[in-house]
C-alpha cells in the first residue's frame, strides 16, 4: 500500500492489523483521495488551501490528536493564519470568527447544530456552496480522526 496521512500516523501495527488494513487497501486509498479533495481541491471556493489546513489542524486539536494537528499545521504557509490552528483563539483577528465558531460546533458539538447556525453563516455573507465546503472539511476530518484514534487503540491493546 502506498503511504497516506492515515497510515503514516498509525505507524507500525501488529501483523493481524496490517493484514486487515491491506484487505481494505481500497478504503485506505480512497480515504487519502477524500483528504486531498477536502484540503487541496482544484476549486477552493472562499477557503484557500492554507485556511483548510489551518482548520484541519484546529479540528485535530479539538479531537486530542496533536500529532496530526502538527502535520496539518505545518502545511499552513501563510503565517497570518497560524492562530486559526489553535482552538483557544476565536479567529476574530483573521476576520474568521464566524467560520471558527461554526467549525468548532460542527466538529465537537454536532448534535447542537441548528438551522440558526447555517443562517448565521448566510447572514455573514457565506454563500451556500462555501457552507457545504466547510461542512465537508469538518465531516471528513471527523471520519479520519476517529479512524486514526480507533486503529491506534486497536494496536495498543492487540495481544
Amino acid at each position: 500500500m502506498s503511504q497516506t496521512t492515515l497510515l503514516h500516523h498509525i505507524g507500525a501495527t501488529p501483523p493481524e492489523i496490517a493484514a486487515a488494513l491491506e484487505h481494505r487497501a481500497n478504503i485506505i486509498a480512497m480515504t487519502q483521495s477524500a483528504e486531498d479533495a477536502v484540503l487541496i481541491p482544484r476549486e477552493t471556493g472562499a477557503w484557500s488551501h492554507d485556511l483548510r489546513h489551518a482548520l484541519a489542524a484546529r479540528i485535530a486539536r479539538l479531537h486530542g490528536l496533536g500529532d496530526l494537528s502538527e502535520t496539518y499545521g505545518a502545511r499552513v504557509n501563510d503565517p497570518a493564519l497560524a492562530p486559526v490552528t489553535d482552538p483557544s483563539k476565536d479567529g476574530a483577528a483573521q476576520g474568521l470568527a464566524h467560520v471558527c465558531a461554526f467549525m468548532d460546533k460542527v466538529a465537537a458539538r454536532t448534535r447542537d447544530v441548528t438551522a440558526g447556525d447555517i443562517k448565521g453563516l448566510q447572514d455573514a455573507g457565506v454563500v451556500d456552496a462555501d457552507i457545504v465546503r466547510l461542512c465537508e472539511i469538518a465531516a471528513f476530518l471527523a471520519y479520519q480522526l476517529r479512524t486514526l484514534a480507533g486503529l491506534r487503540l486497536m494496536s495498543e491493546v492487540w495481544t
Binding site: 457552507i131 465531516a139 471520519y143 484514534a149 480507533g150 491493546v157
Partner: protein, 194 residues
C-alpha cells in the same frame, strides 16, 4: 405542512436542505458526472444535489461510503449498520439513524434491536456481541473520541477479529462524516399527520 422530527424512530423521513441545492439545469458537466445523471436517469435527491456544491468531495465520498458499508468480508453488513446507528445517536442525526435502523432491521429480519435502542438509548438490551459493537462505536463517535482499551478488549472478547474490528472502526467513523452533513445541512421532516 411538514414537521421537523426530533425523536429517533425507524421510519426514514424526508430530508429538507437548509441551503439551496444545485439546480440540475445549472449543473456543470463535472457535477452531472458525479450525480450520475443520464438522459434516462434524472432523479437525484436533494441531499446529493446539496453535496454537489462540493463536487470534488462528492465524487470520492460515494464510492468510499459504499466500500465501507458494503464490501465483502469483515464485519457483517447488519453490524456495520449497528455501528452507524450508534454514531448517529451520539450526533443526534435523526435522518441517518432512521435510514440505518431500517436497513439493520431489514437485514436481520428483526426490529427488536433497533426498537430497544430507540426506546432505551444506551441502556438497551443487546446481545453481548451487539453490546460490544455498540459501545465501541458509540464511544468512538464522541468528541474527542472516548473509546477505551476495555471496550476494545470487550469487542475482541465478543469474538471480533482484526478485520471485523477495522470495519467497526470504519463504519462508526464514517457516520461521524455522514452525520455532520445530514444533521448540519438539513432537517429530517415528515408530512404533518403521517
Amino acid at each position: 405542512m411538514t414537521d421537523v422530527l426530533t425523536k429517533f424512530n425507524r421510519t426514514p423521513p424526508q430530508w429538507r436542505p437548509r441551503v439551496t441545492p444545485v439546480a440540475l439545469e445549472d449543473a456543470t458537466p463535472e457535477q452531472l458526472e458525479a450525480l450520475q445523471v443520464t438522459p434516462s436517469n434524472r432523479k437525484v435527491s436533494a441531499y446529493v444535489l446539496t453535496l454537489a456544491h462540493d463536487v470534488e468531495v462528492l465524487k470520492v465520498r460515494s464510492p468510499l461510503f459504499n466500500a465501507i458499508m458494503y464490501d465483502k468480508g469483515g464485519m457483517s453488513r447488519a453490524e456495520r449498520e449497528l455501528a452507524a446507528v450508534a454514531a448517529s445517536m451520539v450526533n443526534h442525526c435523526i435522518y441517518c439513524a432512521a435510514v440505518h435502523a431500517d436497513r439493520h432491521a431489514t437485514l436481520e429480519k428483526d426490529t427488536s434491536v433497533m426498537d430497544s435502542l430507540f426506546a432505551n438509548g444506551t441502556k438497551a438490551a443487546l446481545s453481548p456481541r451487539d453490546r460490544a459493537i455498540f459501545d465501541l462505536a458509540y464511544a468512538l463517535a464522541q468528541t474527542p473520541p472516548a473509546a477505551t482499551a476495555a471496550q476494545m478488549q470487550a469487542a475482541q472478547g465478543a469474538g471480533l477479529d482484526a478485520a471485523e474490528l477495522l470495519d467497526l472502526i470504519l463504519s462508526s467513523s464514517l457516520f461521524g462524516w455522514a452525520n455532520r452533513l445530514m444533521h448540519v445541512l438539513g432537517d429530517p421532516v415528515r408530512e404533518a399527520g403521517q
